[in-house]
Symmetry: none
Subunit: 198 residues, 4 copies
Amino acid sequence: MTPSPERRRELLGVAAEVFAAQGYNATTVRKIADAAGMLAGSLYYHFDSKESMLDEILATFLDELWAGYDAVLAAGLGPRETIEALVTESFREIDRHHAAVAIYQKESRHLSVQPRFTYLADSQRKFEKAWLGTLERGVADGVFRADLDIRLTYRFVRDTVWVAASWYRPGGLHSPEEIARQYLSMVLDGIALGERTP
Amino acid sequence: MTPSPERRRELLGVAAEVFAAQGYNATTVRKIADAAGMLAGSLYYHFDSKESMLDEILATFLDELWAGYDAVLAAGLGPRETIEALVTESFREIDRHHAAVAIYQKESRHLSVQPRFTYLADSQRKFEKAWLGTLERGVADGVFRADLDIRLTYRFVRDTVWVAASWYRPGGLHSPEEIARQYLSMVLDGIALGERTP
Amino acid sequence: MTPSPERRRELLGVAAEVFAAQGYNATTVRKIADAAGMLAGSLYYHFDSKESMLDEILATFLDELWAGYDAVLAAGLGPRETIEALVTESFREIDRHHAAVAIYQKESRHLSVQPRFTYLADSQRKFEKAWLGTLERGVADGVFRADLDIRLTYRFVRDTVWVAASWYRPGGLHSPEEIARQYLSMVLDGIALGERTP
Amino acid sequence: MTPSPERRRELLGVAAEVFAAQGYNATTVRKIADAAGMLAGSLYYHFDSKESMLDEILATFLDELWAGYDAVLAAGLGPRETIEALVTESFREIDRHHAAVAIYQKESRHLSVQPRFTYLADSQRKFEKAWLGTLERGVADGVFRADLDIRLTYRFVRDTVWVAASWYRPGGLHSPEEIARQYLSMVLDGIALGERTP
DNA sequence: TATGAATGAGTGTTCATTCAT
DNA sequence: TATGAATGAACACTCATTCAT
């Protein structure tokens, strides 16, 4: 009568992988069941609906993401160090939850309008506040350039980091930390050599 | 046999908008028809299938994109100038075809394995060759940094530009050229102020 | 405003051919229009509906068939000669209206229950009366065998003749009259050689 | 993966009945489901498609038919006895599979061109070889008439037997064996009384 | 816990038919 | 007379979900 939480977690892992690979809409409950070695109807012993699986996958991911982010933001670092820590933390999350991140990337926009998924929009707002605030603080402190549209900069950094989930595969050539290092180097210093264009 | 091309183009515009907003799979033919002010079945007077609409949208976009890219690549510019021109051209395409670009972004990965859409994979290979080649030339010429993983750099620049389609709306605050200018400035010189980290 | 009867006849010929080749249900109005070199909607200038084309094809055929049959039946021939004349006349109709006959063969059973096509059932009853009556007369006169179930004999002769429409092609090896001659020879005398089995 | 074979057989029986009565094309999946007391979609738990139902019905019938025919052909009977045995076997098959036979009759011509149903054409060729060969042997042995076009004779016997499926209903007045006896008597000896026409 | 069999709403698509031009 | 464009009902099929076992 009460399904074991471990089995749930296992099944959610399977579901996340399939959602990420095929897209939520294109994923049938049967495909998930196949991948889990059971019949479609059997999943309903563990979960209320396909949507509730998606819900749980995203919510779990966001919980962990914010645990990491909140720790960084509470550490009282300078703006540049905060950005560096957030980017590194982000790549670590992509490494740990790459399926969930891929799903989030593809589906969050149209999900966030549904009542069940308002927490996605909430998270996004909180996210924007943290990053945009840090960037603004950096501009004020003179560590980030002041000649750029700050919202454009925000989107640039945000997208740059998270789209990486679309090609990132855990266990690849570079560790999340190494990728973070190189990305930060590009974002902060640019890819051009020599004098900066004035 | 080939009903009025203008009407087709109109309807494809409507379809692209809906595909971009809701995702291809989540878009029903009835939604497209609703948006076009007609009945679902009526679309089949103009198109063979939902898939053929998608096909035509993507193929038209890629044709125009490559017309622009090929012109840039044939101009004999230096690596930095080539990158600048390609990025600018890309933002122009995002401006002109923002729906098609958004669709491409979301769907190309799983579409490119279907026989009908092999041209997506072809385009992607050609794309990678052009960008990666230019970056390599730039490293050899000493205009781009040599201390970065070149494929990581490629992905960074590529994604950075094209994800912009997810938030870009034509007629917004900045022109495509202005966005390109700021993006190039960030990508080439970084967002940090002061001495570059050695 | 009043479509010319000649064009109608032309188009009915085309329609009959397609109905016969593909079956009525499997024949789309568009296929008929294609075969006639026009667009589907244009047929509706000449005919009320797809069904009315079928109706006119079958009714025309049955009218001609009964003109021939009635002439035979009115001739006052003996039973054997009547059967011979009916069979010969039938093969001539198959030759002249092979498409209509093929359609009749395939569709009459399920059509005859529809109010519009009650004349099919009427014709069939009249048909049965003429043939069965002639056979009974023949049995009474001692020219046909009395040891057979008469209804079975009727079905045997009837089917034997009309199924030929399924393989008969006008302008083939044998003339309708020659086929009739051989069929009558088989039906009347059997295909076996030597003494009849007692 | 393979749901209960008994239920499948039940449902195929229902489907065959409806196909036979209304024609394959005119039969909607809904009608079959109605006749089976379930909803249209539920059929797809048991079968891949409407076409696969048809396929299984026809293939099962032909398998059984050829089991019977092959036994007859392997028995080493004389030509006349072979024909008698084949006709009797045919009426038994019509009795056992009257729906499948009716479907075969109506649909095989246009189905046999589809790749999925090539076995229909194969069967037809094998069928023709067996019957035509036996008839030719009979003519050579002097037990069948030599003055008839042999292909015409073949078509005559073949059609004569199989069209019976269009009116035959199991449990009727005559057993299949009795019908076979009378049909054979007509086919072999003719329906006329007295001296044969020279 | 999982299965087998079903439901019912919805999906892409077809097609006879209509009608202004 | 014929076309081009549309309608609307129906169709084969899919799929999330249910439930007795």
